[in-house]
Subunit: 427 residues, 2 copies
């Protein structure tokens, strides 16, 4: 469980330079930054920096001064090292590094606050100094294990063997289970438990897998490699691959309808509707068909690209989060906040995917790299360059995390960490 640090004051009025660093002992915490100024302007991007030896992090974020609340996170999988900071003792005032892009002389007040009382945290700190409070890696592994176990049991190797072999081949090929984890974390955030969301979590992963199988078909992206293995149709033939996708799509709904436990039927029906919407002709498929029709086009702008990404990728991530929130008993307001959170991280996911496609090798990705370039697909790096794409990714991550401010911050930790994971993943 998370025990966030309380940083009462980080304010300073150095001209355009605000700096801090702090030691975070194996902690993934969340900080809410309140930035206020009488003027307005955009602060430069802030990037996470990791000092593995000392567990030092600098949290950096792009914040618009007109926006007065931003949420940033601490994580230990940062990839963008820009600076190395001094060890930091929690609860002490320290400078915070915020480079202003407009070197304003206006006074800027920045404070980072966290949810738990300082006193409580001090007690915890005294009793067990540097105690790990939220181990994201363990959380991911535990959830992925649960999901894999459930998927393995759900799609067992039964007759007819060939179709179940094909379904299992792609479903159990070691995906990162990001969507199931989002689903479960959203459920837990609104007060539900893992068991209530497990069927939906698996359903979302089945549908994700199905979309990959069909997307890889020769008549679609014609891909030979997926998750480091030959694509489904390469192993089982195109006909069986089409059917395996169809079967996974159908089974996702069967599993939700038959295996969801401890949830009122009205919520199950609502969740099933949401899942279907997220993948249909105004969801995932809409993104795919517009994507296909955009190949080779020269006049594709940002809005068009965002439509593709919001539908092709964000919709299913939105489905995952919204399903979890519904099944966990979330209020309509909670569901809608989490929907917005999911849309942001969904778009983020695809922006990062675009970046990885041009910056990583096939081996690193576990799938064919550079295929967007080969297919002459419109991507964020192609439209605005890699650096601005990265900035946009960071902005989306923060916008996502803003949506979580009204929730119990301790319970929100996994979702925040997942957002950061999506933002900084390497494959």
């Amino acid at each position: 469980m998370m025990s966030p640090y309380v940083l009462k004051t980080l304010s300073t009025d150095q001209k355009g330079l605000y700096h801090t660093s702090f030691k975070v002992p194996d902690v993934y915490g969340v900080f809410q930054f309140k930035v206020s100024t009488k003027g307005s302007g955009t602060l430069a991007c802030l990037f996470p920096t990791e000092d593995k030896k000392n567990n030092i992090f600098v949290v950096m974020a792009s914040v618009n001064l007109g926006t007065w609340v931003h949420s940033c996170s601490i994580f230990n999988q940062a990839s963008l090292s820009r600076s190395r900071s001094q060890p930091f003792s929690p609860f002490k005032r320290v400078p915070m590094s915020l480079m202003s892009s407009k070197k304003t002389k206006r006074p800027i007040s920045i404070s980072a606050v966290l949810t738990k009382e300082e006193e409580t945290l001090r007690e915890e700190d005294n009793s067990n100094n540097s105690k790990p409070t939220f181990d994201f890696k363990s959380y991911m592994i535990q959830k992925a294990d649960s999901v894999n176990q459930a998927l393995d049991g759900a799609v067992s190797l039964r007759e007819p063997r060939k179709i179940h072999e094909a379904m299992r081949y792609s479903l159990l090929a070691g995906g990162k289970r990001v969507r199931p984890m989002l689903c479960i974390a959203a459920c837990e955030l609104v007060g539900g438990d893992e068991s209530m969301a497990m069927s939906a979590a698996c359903a979302v992963e089945m549908i994700h897998t199905m979309s990959l199988i069909h997307d890889d078909l020769p008549c679609m992206d014609n891909d030979d490699l997926r998750r480091g293995k030959p694509t489904n149709h390469k192993v089982f033939g195109e006909d069986v691959a089409v059917l395996a996708g169809d079967a996974l799509l159908a089974f996702a709904f069967e599993y939700m309808a038959v295996s969801t436990v401890g949830v009122a039927p009205s919520r199950v029906v609502r969740a099933i509707g949401e899942l279907a919407i997220s993948i249909g002709s105004e969801g995932l498929v809409a993104g795919q068909v517009v994507d296909i029709n955009s190949e080779g086009l020269t006049d594709v702008g940002l809005e068009h690209l965002e439509f593709i990404h919001v539908h092709k990728t964000a919709a299913l991530l939105e489905g995952a989060v919204v399903l979890g929130a519904i099944l966990g008993g979330g209020s309509d307001d909670e569901v809608e906040k989490l929907r917005k959170f999911a849309r942001c991280i969904g778009l983020l996911f695809q922006v990062v995917d675009d970046i990885l496609d041009v910056t990583k090798s096939s081996k690193e990705l576990g799938k064919t790299a550079g295929k967007d370039l080969v297919a002459d697909k419109v991507t964020y790096p192609k439209l605005i360059g890699i650096e601005k794409s990265r900035e946009f990714a960071n902005k989306l991550n923060m916008e996502a995390q803003e949506q979580l401010l009204g929730f119990d911050q301790e319970k929100a930790t996994p979702l925040i960490a997942l957002a950061n994971y999506i933002s900084h993943r390497q494959n």
Copy 2:
């Protein structure tokens, strides 16, 4: 509404020959034959015979003497003319034509009884001689109209246009809407009304259409013609056809979850689960994959063939009927009886399809004829010949209708007529 004729006695003990004929004025009625004997033996097939001018029908059926109750139907779409009978005045004793395949000398008693009281019927007969009591054609047209209207509204032409055009192209291509009608009729049989089953009826048709789109793909059956029009991928391309199928599959569940009205959520969840099961890796897809793997095999027997048909065709028809029964508020016992009914007519549907493939032209079928032969597929005509396939079809029709005996026979009329329609359809 149906006003069946009451034929009190048809018994005779002619050696192996029982004969009757009767005039049925524009009526689709149902007769329940009670056949009893101290021995056992199989009576030869009885075929419907039509005298259009005089509306004369001879109902003939294959009955096993060990089975003491069979249900046969009167219809006016009979295709197999074997004899022309004398005009028949209802409620008079007439000989009935039943050829015994084993010329038994044992006394056989045959009676045909119907649900309504003779007196009531006589009154109706007096007040309005030859009044049509159940107009199956009108029933079919009315239900198909309702379903087409609902489908048109459900999958409207919205953005992205291409995918919705593709979905609508196949969905609104004038299918016979047999599955939706089965769904609605089952719902009405157990006491529900059309509105309760309409979303499920449409969902089943969406999934049926999706299975046709994917089945026609070059990597599957590679078909150019469907319902008299170029197949989906011929018009929209393979990639869009794959996605249109996926979208229809997803939308089926969305429509059920979002648009089902007047039904308890627990029943909606149960119905969604049933629908998914009927099309998944142990339903429709199972049949397709085993069918694909059977092409060219030389050692395919009847059991294997039945597995294909029961899954490839019967499963979705079963889904249609069971969904209707669940949503209409049917008891578990009623649902299971209707499930068995559906399995029989589902297998019947495919047996007839097999027969039509070798006996009709492409023009008559609205799709490529003889394709099973070309693909060297195992079919009933191939395994047991056309005549025995027809006998089997008649047997299945009767087994199906046996399941309906416990229901209100008036309400069962549409399902019985639908079973007969499936049995005697010409395309």
